[in-house]
């Protein structure tokens, strides 16, 4: 197969697409583009959901590494020494403790059972971006006492009647209002609402947060223990590295990375995603292959006589094969090209307007590799779909073809 042969095959292919049935060419290209989009969209969306959940778990739950009590124990003890040790290790940005207590909130006529969480606001800033999620008022200061910040769903909305609420709330608390918190141990205190936040992560948004020193008052003693410690890694440090380091340097508590935790929680979810991804991939490939195969088979059947004539005047089999194979390749390449553009537009749109639910936010998470791999798979499928009928028709006996 020389250059001249390929040139002739390309000319014949191009002219057939240009001057043949335009609508069928256009339709075929659109179908390939849709198949590409279908192949890429769902997996991209699932990846987006996954990535979103991971980010939020890191931001609001775990940091990069979670230090929790040894089995059988309720608290991480010897807190100050432990925090100092962790904070001194290479690669650790900051470690910060958390302690939650069950409590009842009272505001005007409303009562609401919640979990009140104590943090060290200064250190917490290094671990969680919650401070940047204030929708009203401001974040807690390090030594604030008698102040509280609450999630937007807890604060509620005064314009919504209690019986219409999606979830129970305090019915419209505003910054500066006073709310009463009655703890399980009987301790009761009024707090001023300093700020209201909305993180888009439901377990955080349903919290009420106070400072560590306020919690010491609740417990009536210095808090040298915590429920768990969240640890943020410095950029460029692997979670696994930090975990190994902590264990090596004598942290006897239970140490897990975000990855460890997510594997447990999300393992089965990811498995279902993987199955759906596989199905959408296979469906895309099958539809593309079948459509291209049918389109080109019909074309070759309608052109049998012409193919016979071309071969009679000295056009080689291979040129005939490429004439039809290339038509499929051209349509597939255009289809994939438009598919890439279409998904890129969708990705940009969803980045600006994510699909939001109370539990998670989703956008399209697609890497250049995803585009490349899917394009390549679809391209190879098209080559097979085009060249099989093209090869068959090019082998046909000239006599039979010409008398067709």
């Amino acid at each position: 197969m020389g250059k001249k042969e390929l040139k002739v095959a390309f000319l014949l292919a191009l002219r057939s697409l240009q001057r043949g049935s335009r609508s069928s060419v256009l339709l075929t290209i659109i179908i390939v583009a849709m198949c590409f989009t279908n192949m890429v969209f769902l997996p991209g969306l699932f990846n987006g959901i996954g990535e979103g959940i991971i980010t939020q778990v890191v931001d609001y739950e775990v940091g990069n590494v979670l230090v929790s009590p040894k089995t059988g124990e309720q608290y991480v003890t010897d807190l100050d020494a432990t925090l100092d040790l962790i904070n001194s290790m290479p690669g650790v940005e900051r470690a910060t403790p958390h302690l939650s207590k069950g409590a009842t909130l009272k505001y005007r006529q409303r009562m609401l059972g919640v979990s009140v969480k104590a943090i060290k606001p200064g250190d917490e800033k290094y671990v969680s971006p919650l401070y940047s999620k204030m929708v009203a008022g401001s974040y807690l200061g390090e030594d604030d006492t008698g102040e509280v910040i609450i999630g937007k769903p807890v604060a509620g909305d005064a314009t919504i009647k209690q019986e219409d609420e999606f979830q129970p709330s305090l019915g419209g608390v505003r910054v500066g209002d006073s709310i009463t918190i009655e703890y399980a141990n009987g301790y009761t205190k009024d707090y001023r609402v300093k700020g209201i936040y909305y993180a888009g992560w439901s377990s955080t948004d349903n919290n009420v947060i106070i400072t560590w020193s306020d919690m010491e008052q609740v417990e009536g003693k210095t808090l040298d223990y915590a429920e768990f410690i969240t640890v943020k890694a410095k950029p460029g440090y692997e979670e696994k590295f930090i975990k190994d380091e902590l264990q090596q340097y004598g942290i006897s508590e239970y140490v897990q990375t975000t990855g460890d935790l997510l594997k447990k929680v999300m393992g089965s979810v990811m498995q279902s995603f993987a199955i759906i991804n596989l199905v959408s991939l296979v469906v895309g490939i099958i539809i593309t292959t079948v459509v291209l195969f049918i389109v080109i088979t019909i074309k070759t059947i309608n052109s049998r006589k012409q193919i016979g004539i071309l071969r009679a005047i000295g056009v080689d089999k291979e040129v005939i094969m490429h004439t039809y194979g290339l038509q499929v390749v051209i349509m597939a390449v255009l289809g994939i090209f438009f598919g890439v553009i279409l998904t890129a537009i969708l990705a940009v749109y969803l980045a600006a307007h994510p699909i939001v639910t109370p539990e998670w936010k989703a956008y399209l998470f697609l890497t250049p590799m995803d585009y490349l791999v899917n394009s390549l798979i679809l391209f190879l499928a098209s080559v097979v779909a085009g060249y099989v009928p093209a090869w068959q028709v090019s082998r046909e006996d000239i006599q039979t073809a010409m008398r067709a």
Partner: protein
């Protein structure tokens, strides 16, 4: 130059044997304008297809310029057709998606010994020769049958073949267009000393042929110089 010896082509239709060509022996000289005539079904197309290497005989031999063409491989036959033979069909058989110019240039584009420049010049020249140069960017469907057949002759001639075959090239044309096409063949034969082997079953065509071979039931019934040719 073409030596045909005891050429046979049999078809088997179930138990019935069709003797499409039943032992034809012929010699055709260079520069001849040969007419193959005979009733429908007499084996004219079969003979032409065998000579054009489009079909293989059941038995017999075809030598072209001393070469046993039946011993060529499939690819060699294709190249032989490309370099040595030209073919004109009854129904023009132009590629409908190509312009006249592209149709004519197609066989030339495939030749290794033709530069792009040459292909262009040759195609242009031959279209000019048949008087359709101004229609070179038109598609086949935009031209009349007679015009299409002339372009089809141009396509067959662009590579300057040793032998030009034509299978009832006027069957789909009215008498005026037929005459024009036959005149064109006549001129090509005269001017270029082109060997032409044409199949026809119209009696009035015979005035163009130097020599007429008549077939009946796959056999040659007469073969002779045509003294009334012009």
């Amino acid at each position: 130059m073409i030596e045909i010896t005891d050429l046979k082509r049999l078809y088997h239709m179930g138990n019935v044997e069709v003797r499409a060509l039943d032992g034809v022996t012929l010699n055709i000289e260079k520069g001849e304008f040969l007419g193959i005539m005979g009733a429908s079904g007499s084996g004219k197309t079969t003979l032409l297809h065998l000579l054009g290497l489009l079909d293989a005989p059941t038995s017999g031999r075809i030598m072209i310029d001393g070469l046993d063409v039946l011993s060529l491989t499939d690819y060699e036959k294709t190249m032989f057709r490309l370099y040595k033979l030209g073919y004109v069909f009854q129904d023009y058989a132009l590629v409908p998606d190509l312009t006249m110019m592209e149709n004519v240039a197609l066989p030339a584009m495939l030749r290794k010994d033709r530069s792009e420049e040459q292909v262009k010049n040759d195609s242009f020249w031959i279209l000019q020769r048949i008087g359709l140069c101004d229609r070179r960017d038109h598609l086949p469907r935009e031209l009349s049958g007679g015009q299409q057949q002339r372009v089809s002759i141009a396509r067959a001639m662009v590579n300057r073949p040793d032998i030009l075959f034509a299978d009832e090239p006027c069957a789909n044309l009215d008498s005026e267009n037929s005459k024009m096409v036959l005149e064109l063949f006549h001129e090509i034969n005269e001017e270029m000393k082109q060997t032409i082997i044409m199949v026809s079953h119209e009696d009035w065509h015979k005035e163009y042929f130097h020599r007429i071979v008549r077939l009946k039931d796959g056999k040659v019934t007469s073969d002779g110089k045509n003294h009334s040719a012009h």
